[in-house]
Amino acid sequence: MRRALPSLLVFVLGLWLMVAPSLLGYVGTAGETSDRLVGPLVAAVGFVAASAITRSVRWLNLAAAAWLVIGPWLVGVPTAAAVNSLVVGVLVGVLTPLGKPDPDRFGGGWRTLWKPERLAGRPE
C-alpha cells in the first residue's frame, strides 16, 4: 500500500488541475484549456498506476509533467496558471518514478511476455 502512495498523490494532483482554473480564476484562458486536457490524463494515469500490476503506466505522466513545466511558456498563460502548472509539473515529475512495484508478486511481471527466460515455471 505504501508503494501506491506516490501514484495516489499524483491522482490528487490531476484532480487539482481539473478544478484549479475555476478556483484560481483563469477560466477562459489557454491555461484553462491546458489544465482541462492534462488534468484528467494525469489523474487517470495516477489512479491506474496505484495498482501494482499496472504501475508501469506511471511513466506516461513524465510527458505530462514535462508539458506542465514548459507548456505555459510556449502558449502564454496568466501568471497564476503558469505558477500552478510549474509547481504541479515538478511535483508530478518527482513523484512519478517512486513506488516501483515488486515483479516477483506476478511471476516476473509483464516483461516475461517478451523475455520468456524470466518466466516462472517455464519448462527447460
Binding site: M18, T33, R36, L37, P40, L41, A44, F47, V48, A50, S51, A52, I53, T54, D104, R105, F106, G107, G108, G109, W110, T112, L113, P116, L119, A120, G121, R122, P123
Partner: protein, 198 residues
C-alpha cells in the same frame, strides 16, 4: 489463504482468478451499468431530469451534446452495454480460469481496458468542448478506471500461461482455448516454482 491450493499461477503469491479478486470488479461493473443506464434513460427521454448536485445544467449539456450522440446509440447506452459485458465476462469461469479458460480472461481484459480509455476521453471532452462537467459521468469514469488494475493481473496470468504452454511445445491457440495439457495439470509446477521464487 489462497496460494497454497495449487490454483495460483507459477511464481505468484495469490491467485488472480480467485472470487475474492473478481467479485469486487463485477460489483463495480454492475454499479457502472446502473449509472450508465440511468444516463441513457435521460438521453432517450425516459426520465425528464438528471441528478446533478454540483455543476448546474452541466449534466444535461454533456448528455445532449453532439459527441454523446455521434454513434448510432448514445454513449450512455454504449457504456451500459460495456459494463454488462465486463460483469458477464467477470463471472464466467472457475477459480483457475487463467489456465482453464484464458480466452474469457483475455476478452474480459479487452473489455475493461478500452472502456476506461473512452471514459477518460469523454471526461476531457466535456469541459473543453462544452464548458460543462457531469457528476455521474465523472463517477462512471472513476468506476471504469478502478476496474482496470484488478482485471489486468488476471490478464497477465493468462498471457503468461499461454506463453509457457507455447514454450513447452504446445499450440498457443489450444492454450488460449483452455485445451492444452497445462490447463488441467498446472498445479505441480505451480507448487514447485512458487516456493523457489519466494
Amino acid at each position: 489463504m489462497a496460494g497454497h491450493d495449487g490454483l495460483q499461477p507459477p511464481g505468484w503469491r495469490s491467485n488472480p482468478s480467485e472470487w475474492a479478486q473478481r467479485l469486487p470488479i463485477v460489483a463495480l461493473a454492475l454499479v457502472g451499468a446502473a449509472i450508465a443506464t440511468y444516463l441513457a434513460m435521460f438521453q432517450y427521454d425516459l426520465v425528464a431530469t438528471v441528478w446533478e448536485p454540483f455543476f448546474g445544467d452541466g449534466s444535461e449539456t454533456v448528455l445532449a451534446s453532439g459527441l454523446s450522440n455521434v454513434l448510432p446509440i448514445s454513449d450512455g447506452a454504449l457504456g451500459a452495454l460495456s459494463y454488462l459485458l465486463d460483469a458477464v465476462t467477470g463471472v464466467i469461469g472457475g477459480r483457475a480460469r487463467w489456465r482453464t479458460m484464458p480466452w474469457i480472461v483475455i476478452v474480459f481484459g479487452l473489455a475493461v481496458g478500452p472502456l476506461g480509455a473512452v471514459s477518460i476521453l469523454l471526461v476531457i471532452a466535456q469541459p473543453v468542448l462544452y464548458d460543462a462537467f457531469c457528476t455521474l459521468c465523472l463517477a462512471s469514469a472513476l468506476i471504469s478506471l478502478a476496474m482496470i488494475g484488478p482485471a489486468m493481473d488476471e490478464l497477465l496470468a493468462a498471457c503468461q500461461f499461454i506463453r509457457r504452454e507455447r514454450d513447452a511445445g504446445h499450440s498457443a491457440w489450444q492454450a488460449f482455448l483452455g485445451h492444452s495439457p497445462g490447463a488441467t495439470a498446472a498445479a505441480e509446477p505451480a507448487r514447485a516454482t512458487s516456493g523457489a521464487v519466494r
